[in-house]
Amino acid sequence: MFSLPWLELSRFKRHTITRLAIIVVAVIPAIYGGLYLASNWAPTDNLDKLQAAVVNTDEGAEKPDSDGEKLQAGDELVDKITPKGEGGFDWQETSLKEANDGLAEGKYFAVLEIPSNFSERLVSTGGDDPEQAGLNLRTDDAHNFIVGQMAGTILNEIKSGLNETTTAEYVSEVYLGFNDIHSSTKKAVDGARQLNDGATDLHDGSGQLSDGAHTLDKGVGTLQTGIGDLDEGAGELEKGSGDLKTGADKLAKSTTEAKNGSKKVADGAGQVADGTGQLRDTADEATDKAEDLKDKADDLVEGTRPKLTQAEDDFDSARNTVNGDMDDRVAQLREDYPDDPNVQKLADDMDNLGGDLDKAHGRASKAADEAKDLEDPVKDAVDDVMKKIREADKKIGKLDDGAQKVATGADDLHSGLIKLDAGAGDLAKGAGDLNDGAIQLKDGTEKAKTGVADLKDGSSQLADGADELDKGAKKLVDGSKELADKLADGLKQIPTYDKSDRENRSDVVAVPVDAEKIKDNAVDAYGEGLAAFFVSLALWIGGMITYMVINAIPYRALMSSAKSSRIAWAGYVPGILFGVAQVAVLYGVLSFALDFSAGSWLWTLLFSILVAASFHAVHQLCVAALGGVGRLVALVLLMVQIASAGGTYPVQTAPSIFQIISPFLPMTHAVNGLRTLIAGGDMFIAAQAAVVLLLMTAICLVATMFVCGRKRMVTLTQLHPSLTL
């Protein structure tokens, strides 16, 4: 079974030296990558082999809120970093001079100075005037630049460690403060509750006050109306009492007059009574006489005529008497008592009597005449008359009784009027007084009215004020309730911390972000991080060596009729076999000698083979196309790629020319893919890199094929070369 790659390799089987050459080709990348990575595998793990000096000039300081307890932060720091393996370097406490001399001559790689005010500054964080505490680290780049960088990292660690402790202490105080705040706020809540209760009472009171004030206001309104009425009444009273006074005066005057008049009446009535007494007497006498007359008439009836004549005479005289005397006297009475009905009646009766008497006389005359004619009728008539006389007598008796009574009444009237007059006098006087009083009352009510108006204004204001007070009290209630509630809510939100809680939280707050521990796909060591770059470099060099030892293309084949693709492939396959061998040896060395571990071994190996394949394609192309010059080109490409592959610092940190060419160079993608796979990151990036490398491999192979096609044409220069590399 023969194949071109095997044939190409079998060239080397013949001599020991060529067999060794094969081994060398396979091993060189492992030597190159292994040596470099071994020396740089974990430099930072061995910093404790470097001596460094710490100079402590700290004077200490008194801790705040403590009974003279002293903080010796400098000593603490020295104690913390000087034990082996604690502070990065191998720290030794020295004097300043020793440290400076040591740094200058390279004995010490770094000098850490702790200033005299270090503790003081640290303590100040809890005080009124906090200041940052300073540390001073010096390195000498003349001895080692990288150590300077590392020292910076170490200083950062020391710094953050210190910051952690001081911040934790400070924050612990803050948490204690929270407890104070909590208890104070609790008091405030209680106070607010009490305030709220008081405000509620106030609000109730102010409600009542407001109701009362309104009632008062209403009452004052009513009072005002009443006082108005009173004033009006007092006005009327004043007027009335004025009238009353006038009237009473008039009354007093008229009662005096009446008194005087009634005296006259009494006198008159006395006289009337006297007259009627006499009339009575007279009437009695008349009656007696009439009786006698009757008897005589009776006798006349016996003796008639003489007697009638006599009667006629008698009537005549009686008539005369009555009509004469009676009429005079009644007229007199009527004069005296013009208003007295009795008197009037009396007068009428008297007239009637007179009339009757006339009639009687007539009749008597007639009777006498008739008697002359008729004795019987006369008798009857006499009887009639007699009856009438008797009635008259009775009436006169009554009249007299009345007159007597009138007289008595008039006397009574008079004495009454006297009293009335006296009373009227008193009344007039009283009415005067009343009027005066009423005037004063009116003045009073006027004043009262004004006063009440003022009072009304006041009471209205009082009512309004009471309303506002009530409203205000309501707000006060609401506000104080809200205050109490909110304070209570706030109280709930104010945390309290016990001791262990405080310590835990202080630690967390002191280092709220622990950024160092958050690394995706962390690699185990510095060397493992660099491995992607150095594996790529090693494989590039491996490719160069491969095509230094084996032919890029079998040149004899160019003179045959073999296809160019076959020729290119025949030159490429042995190369790639060497590449596989190089990858295998390289990773063997890395994993067994350097505890290198890839994120995914299988993919890392496959990708590395792809890297080797692409690099070999490039080298084959270089050598096939340009011969010895191609090897120089490969060397130049190596230099260019070291600068632009982004193996150590990202290519973005390089000058822009490198950034521009970076994507077109295979090592860039080799490093990207390997880095991802070794660290175990995003497979997509590795896949992308793999695709690019495959593409580059294909491009190089196709180019080599074209080169082979061109190489079949020999030029004169090739026949007679002027320079052979």
Partner: protein, 280 residues
């Protein structure tokens, strides 16, 4: 600057393997290498390019093989225009020996060399050759040598003998396990010729047979070429081999042709004399 042809070629039969050049010229940076060459090589014939060192023999052979660009003239290999279709011409014309271009790998065995050449001739999808097929090819070579030895044995005394055939035989062991470095110059030359013949192309070019320092070796080489040409035309009359070889001194050829006149009959043997151009 003349070519002589012993037989008139049917003009219509521009057959495969017929090489013709008209006004063929090459000039490089250092002046003209050759110019105005006219050459007709009928198929199955032998053309000898004769000229001193530096007269452009190698360049002419390479240009005929489609492996060097000329600057003037017109050339055909059969139907193919050499200047316009060099890739197809390269398939028709194989290169036997050109120093510096066809050098053998000293650390290869014969078998490896043959295997390498076989793989190169196979299509792309068959990049290997099994030991059995290699053995078959070696057997064919062995038979060819046997046939050639028979031809030599038929030759009259005083010309070539079987010892010459043995000297020429590069299959020094049955398996072909011997390394090339163990071969003589003649054997190497014939191995290169043999490898070129594996492609069974109609034309073969051979450069500078004079590099074989021994006169006997040169004669043996010529004899081997002519005998192989004869064997092949017998075996495959439709596909004879046209040989174009260059040398500084062609006197050996006539002797060999005389010696082999009974056994070999190339279509024609022509000689093209190249003159040294003054270089500037």
């Amino acid at each position: 600057m003349q070519s002589t042809s012993q037989t008139l070629v049917d003009e219509t039969e521009q057959a495969v393997g017929h090489v013709s050049l008209r006004g063929w010229g090459l000039s490089g940076k250092q002046g003209e290498v050759f110019s105005g060459l006219d050459l007709d090589v009928p198929r199955g014939s032998v053309a000898i390019i004769q000229g001193a060192a530096g007269s452009g023999k190698t360049s002419l052979l390479l240009s005929i093989a489609g492996r060097m660009r000329v600057t003037s003239g017109e050339g055909h290999v059969g139907e193919l225009d050499i200047r316009k279709q060099p890739r197809l011409v390269r398939g028709q014309v194989t290169v036997g020996h050109i120093a510096g271009l066809t050098d053998l790998e000293n650390d290869f065995t014969l078998a490896q060399h043959i295997a390498e050449r076989l793989i190169m001739l196979q299509p792309w999808y068959k990049p290997w050759v099994s030991k059995s097929s290699l053995r078959e090819v070696i057997d064919v070579i062995r038979e060819t040598f046997a046939s050639a030895t028979e031809v030599i044995d038929r030759l009259p005394e005083g010309t070539f003998s079987s010892s010459d055939a043995k000297d020429a035989d590069f299959l020094i062991d049955d398996e072909g396990k011997a390394f090339v470095s163990e071969l003589s110059e003649l054997q190497k030359f014939l191995l290169e010729f043999g490898l070129a013949s594996l492609a069974q192309a109609p034309v073969v070019v051979l450069d500078n047979i004079d590099y074989l320092r021994e006169r006997e070796d040169r004669a043996r080489a010529w004899a081997a070429i002519l005998i192989y040409q004869e064997l092949r035309s017998k075996r495959d009359p439709e596909n004879p081999l046209t040989v174009i070889a260059s040398c500084e001194d062609s006197s050996d050829v006539d002797l060999v042709l005389d010696a082999l006149s009974t056994e070999v009959s190339p279509t024609s043997v022509s000689t093209l004399q190249l003159t040294q151009h003054p270089r500037h």
